[in-house]
Structure formats: structure tokens, C-alpha cells
Amino acid sequence: MLSLRATVPAMVLFAMAGNVLAQQGAGVLAPPGEVTVSDVPNDGGDQLLVCFEPSPDDERVNSYTVYRRMQGEGDDAWRPVRVLFPGQGTSFVDGRDPDYSVRPGQIYEYRVTALSESGEATGPVYVAEEAADGEWFNTNKVRILIGCAVFLGLIFFFFSKAQSGDKLYLRPIPGIEAIDEAIGRATEMGKPILYIPGLSTISDVATIASLTILGRVAKKVAEYQTPIMVPNRNPIVYTVAEESVKQAYLEAGRPDSYDPDSVFFLTQSQFAFVAGVNGIMAREKPATNFYLGMFWAESLILAETGSLSGAIQIAGTDAVTQLPFFITTCDYTLIGEELYAASAYLGREPKQLGAIKGQDYFKALVMLIIFGTLVLGILDVLANTDLVAWLDHLVTSPAAG
């Protein structure tokens, strides 16, 4: 829709005449035709879509080379920006080659050379009528923007509702309620607590959720004077976890009880980490194991070893495939989003609860939309209508315009 045709200035006509090389045998190779250049939409203004008409002798062509120069540059400024072989089409996005990047706002000139066994033929020079231009809004993301706006609106609505003192009901989650009980058990038994904040990086939200829970667990642990061990696989997670536990001891009024060796980095290697943690379980026999965060194939090896050592185990992860393993081997498992909600449950701060409510209402909305689209889809099939397409157009029409 944005494609504009380039024009042929009179000056280029003699350029093409000189470049067509006649060879013996197969006859003269006809040069490629018109080049059209258009700006690529929704980019940073560094890409141009270049299309050209193939040579009439296309079947004899071994490759096309597309040359480019800035407008007003001399003949020695031509640079080969792209070579296209048969089967690769006659259009490409210019600007992707890091050696020949496209400048925003710059007008370029193009010419295409066809190469065959019998020689080469260069087409005329075309001046692009359009320069690459960066857009201020990506129209492909309208739907995401609408979704985000509704989500943000709901969250902030419930933030204010919670702060104005409205009572918000949250269904009880057994796994979260068991956390206190599990800490108490370790205290009674005089054995340590093992807390694994997952094996992923800090950019994983499950890890962040786990670290927020760690803060609360550590505070309780500090109050009860129970030893805690927090092995880490990621160095950044380790630093945050250490700070989190240290701060919790400070807030519990027992900074002197904090053992700097309680939070430690083990190794970055997945199964070496598992071996290390299993060793800790076998030697120290912790009374309670927490596995909260992101886990992969090692989940069952950890949890089964923990269950063998007779510990109470509470797991929580958003890794769906690992859930069955945790459910089988742990006493309590937080499933998916319950892990994210745990921090709010433990703290009972109004704004935190508001966020959960907002999230739940958004989920209900999405469920309604899915159900509605399903009904429309069935109607489409039964009554031969196009309701789903119409709905889709309604949401994306700003992009179409």
C-alpha cells in the first residue's frame, strides 16, 4: 500500500547503453527492468523494500546484483548491496546488511545487474522516490496496546479500591498457608530450611516472585532463629538473594544472627547444581525444602531426593511441564500464577491484593472473549457468516488505515 514507483531520469539512459555487454554465442542478455523502492513500515527508518523486474531472459540469469548509491554521488560510489540467486525472488529488504546500512531520510539510487554464463547486463539507474523513515507508533501492535491499556486500567482501579479500604476476598491457597507451618516444623526439629530460588536468571519473573517470598520466609526464619540455606545457580540472583536475607534479619531485629554463608553461589551448571543440592540434602537433612521459581528437567531429581530425606516440601513454579513432578513428590505445590500471588498473600498489603484482583478480572474478561469468539466461530460455520473476521477487522482497523 505504501509502494511508490521510482522514476527514470533522462540522464540514466546513456548509462544503460554503455553497460549492456554483448557476448558471442547465446546472444545479448536483456537487462533487468524497473526498480521500485518503498519504505518498510513500522521500522526504525533503516530499511527499504526494493523490488525489480527480472530480465526477460530470466532463465539464463545466474544471479542478480543490486547496486546502490546516494543521490548525487558519482559513478565510483556504486556499492553492491545484495546478490540474489535464482529462487531467491526479485525483491529484498535493503538495510539489513550491516556493511550497507540505510540512512533515515536519505534518497538512494539503484541499478541491477544480471549475470549469466554469456555475460552481464546492467539495467538503468532508478531514483527512489521514497526515503526510509522511522515511525512513532508500530501499527502492528494496536491489539497489544488495547490489551495493555485495559489491563493497566483494571490494576490501577483495584489499587485505588484497595487503598480506600474496601475488603477484597482472595480464595485461600493451601500451599501458601503451609509456608508458616513448614518453618515452624523446622524450628521445632532444630533443623535447617533449604530454599532454592529456582535455576533461572533474574529476568525470569518466577525468580523475582521467589525472591519476594524469600524475603518473607527469611524474616520469619530470623524471628524463630532457624538456620536457612539458600544455594544459587545464577550470580545475579545470588547477590539479590543475599541482600534479601540480610535485610530480613535486619528488619527482624536480629542482624547479628545473620550467617553470611547461609546464602551462597553453587555453580552455573545445571546438573552440577543438582548434585550439589542433593549433597546438601543428604548431609544436612533439612526439615523443610522450598523449591520456588523456575525449574527444568532437574525438578524431579531434587524433589524426589528431598522426599527420600523425609523433609516437608513446598514447591511452586510456572514451568507447566515440571508441575506434575512437584505435585507427585511435594506436600504442597503452587501452580503457575499462585507463585506470583504468594507474596501478596503473605504480606496482605492492600495494593498487592488489588493487583491480584485486577489480574483476575482481566482473566475473566479474556475468558469471556475466548468464549464469545468460539460462539461466533461456530455461528460462522453454521450460518456461513464472517463474524470472526469482522471482529478481527474491528480491532485492527487502525492498522489497516
Binding site: 540467486f85 531467491q88 539489513r96 546488511d97 550491516p98 556493511d99 535455576l199 533461572s200 529476568s203 552455573q268 551448571s269 545445571q270 546438573f271 523456575m294 527444568w296 528437567a297 522426599s307 527420600l308 523425609g310 514451568a319 507447566v320 511441564t321 515440571q322
Partner: protein
């Protein structure tokens, strides 16, 4: 609990170490008796195979060795199978790794595919060897293709008799290797590969390599295959597929496989190999089309897996028979915790 002495009670509360022992016996037996049970291929794996099969030497594939030695039993046959396919079709392969240990696994895979003592492997020529070679009056084109280089090279060198073909480092493959914060590196490769990897694993400058000259950024790579034992596969999806449109295929462990079927149905990935079975299917297709003389480790491993699955099913049946025969369903009796 005096009633705990019947045979059913013993079976129901079987010490798990007996199960471990049974499993050990069962996985060792197939090493002595080759069964070679046939394997049917599925759409998930055919998706990748057919995609790679449509590529040729002007295209390129990027393989991520995004796993560690731990999951190598499942993952290594996948990366070797895809790499063999690429080598046979002369498609250049860029090799990356999310974790430092991936480097060694990549080297190992290349060593296996170019093992001079095995028939049906490839003959490898290191970068320095062919790049600094004297080709007489012919100059080496800077963007030399596989076929062009073979023509020049075979004037003075002969291919091993039982080899499937030549493999030139820097033309047919390059080990870019591990880079920290790989998701950022993936984004950066969308602009330029050389900017992220100025040198390969062995210190050779990548900017002089023909395959890098012909595929300067990851945008020009036609397929990214991430073989992983972790959710690193999603980095490829987010940062390579969604941000600059690289077609992606997954190779994941069986434990993770069902997690990522979603992306196959939504059309975000071209295919997925799940566990040893996925790799075995790929090997079956490689042999069918003459890209290998015989199936590899995964196919042989499927015999072990077959028997192990049968054992698990038998255990489930035994457990349930004991559950009902022992009267556990009536009395509300519970399984003893722990051992």
C-alpha cells in the same frame, strides 16, 4: 500394623530401591540384544526435516547448542542429525551456545560427524588449512561457495573413500560459541554477526569467513534450530523470531516437549524434536534419503526406551492391582511416606 504383611501390602509399599534396580537391569539388556524396532515419523519432526531439505548452499542455518552435558544423551543426537543434514545439503551452519559448556558439545558433535575412522562421515578441512593454501594462479574468491572451494581443493587433495563429502570450516560451519547474556547477543546478531562474534571459538576472525560474508546478519539466516534442556529456546522465539523473523525450530528434552507444542500449533516454530524419539525420527529420515549410512545413537536408544516404558507400565499395573487387592481403596489406608 500387623496387616501390612500380605503380598499385596509388600507390593504396594515396595521399597523404591527395588524399582531402581529393575530399571538398571532393563536399560542394560538392550545393549546386548539389538532390536532395531521401526519408528514412524511425526509432523513435528518432518516439519524441521522438510524445511532443512529445501535449503541449499546459498542459505544458512544457525544451531544453538543450548544444553549441557547433563542432557546430552537426548540433545546431542538432535544437533548431530540436523548438522549432518546441513552438511550433506552443503548448507552453512552457524553454531552458538547459551552456556559455556555448549562449546565443548559443539566440538564433540563436529568431531563425531568428521571422524575419519567411521564410514559415512565427512572429511573436515580446518579454516587455516584451506584459507592459507596456495591455489596457484587461481585466486580464492572472498565469498567462495562450497562447490567452488571443492573444485579448487580437489586438484591437490583426494576425498577419503568412505567419506560423504568435504566440510570446510568457515564455509560449511563456524563455531561462534558461547557468549554471555545470549538473548542480547541474539538481538545484536540481527544487526550483524561480526559485531557479536568478531572471532570464532578458535580465534579466527569471522569477518574473513565466506559464510559470514554471505550471511552478515542473523536476518539472512534461514533457520534457527535451538537444541536445549532449558527454556532458553524461548529466547530464540522472542529475540530472533519475533524481533527479526528468523524461522525457528526446537529440539528439547522429552520432559519439556509438551510445553512447547503450543508454539508449533500457533505457527511460531517450523517443527520440534522432543526427546530421544524426536532425534530418532530425524535419523530415520536421514537414512531414508541417503544422507547417512545407518541410523545413529538415538535410534538405538529407542530400544532401551521401549523396554523402560514397558517396565513403567508394568509397575503402574502392579501398583494398581496391589491397591485394589490389598483393599486400600476401601479402608482409606495410605501409602507409607518416604521409603
Amino acid at each position: 500394623m500387623a496387616e501390612n504383611n500380605s503380598i499385596w501390602d509388600k507390593l504396594f509399599n515396595m521399597d523404591r530401591r527395588w524399582i531402581f534396580l529393575l530399571m538398571a537391569v532393563v536399560v542394560i539388556i538392550p545393549f546386548f540384544f539389538k532390536m532395531g524396532l521401526p519408528i514412524n515419523t511425526t509432523d513435528e519432526v518432518e516439519g524441521i526435516y522438510n524445511y532443512v531439505d529445501s535449503l541449499e548452499q546459498n542459505d544458512a542455518v544457525m544451531i544453538g547448542f543450548d544444553y549441557q552435558p547433563g542432557t546430552m544423551a537426548e540433545n546431542q543426537p538432535m544437533s548431530e542429525a540436523v548438522m549432518r543434514h546441513c552438511f550433506a545439503r552443503k548448507v552453512p551452519v552457524f553454531i552458538t551456545a547459551v552456556l559455556p559448556l555448549g562449546n565443548g558439545l559443539a566440538e564433540e558433535a563436529i568431531a563425531n560427524l568428521t571422524d575419519p575412522d567411521e564410514p559415512g562421515t565427512f572429511q573436515r578441512v580446518r579454516y587455516r588449512e584451506w584459507h592459507s593454501y596456495d591455489y596457484g594462479q587461481d585466486s580464492l574468491p572472498s565469498r567462495v561457495t562450497h562447490d567452488q572451494l571443492v573444485n579448487l581443493w580437489e586438484r591437490d587433495h583426494q576425498l577419503r573413500e568412505d567419506a560423504m563429502g568435504w566440510v570446510f570450516e568457515g564455509v560449511d560451519y563456524v563455531i561462534l560459541g558461547y557468549a554471555p547474556l545470549f538473548h542480547i547477543v541474539l538481538l545484536g546478531m540481527g544487526r550483524s554477526i561480526v559485531s557479536q562474534y568478531p572471532a570464532d571459538l578458535y580465534g579466527n576472525p569471522t569477518e574473513n569467513m565466506p559464510m559470514v560474508k554471505r550471511n552478515k546478519s542473523a536476518r539472512e539466516v534461514d533457520l534457527g534450530v535451538t537444541v536445549a534442556g532449558s527454556s532458553a529456546v524461548l529466547w530464540w522465539l522472542t529475540y530472533a523470531h519475533e524481533s527479526y523473523g528468523m524461522p525457528i525450530a526446537f529440539g528439547v528434552t522429552a520432559v519439556m516437549a509438551t510445553d512447547y507444542l503450543v508454539y508449533l500449533q500457533s505457527g511460531q516454530i517450523v517443527g520440534q524434536m522432543g526427546g530421544l524419539r524426536g532425534a530418532a525420527e530425524y535419523e530415520v529420515m536421514l537414512k531414508r534419503d541417503g544422507y547417512s549410512i545407518e541410523e545413529g545413537k538415538a535410534f538405538r536408544g529407542m530400544d532401551v526406551q521401549s523396554i523402560a516404558h514397558i517396565l513403567i507400565v508394568i509397575l503402574i499395573v502392579v501398583g494398581n492391582v496391589a491397591y485394589f487387592a490389598g483393599g486400600y481403596h476401601r479402608k482409606g489406608r495410605r501409602l507409607r511416606a518416604g521409603r
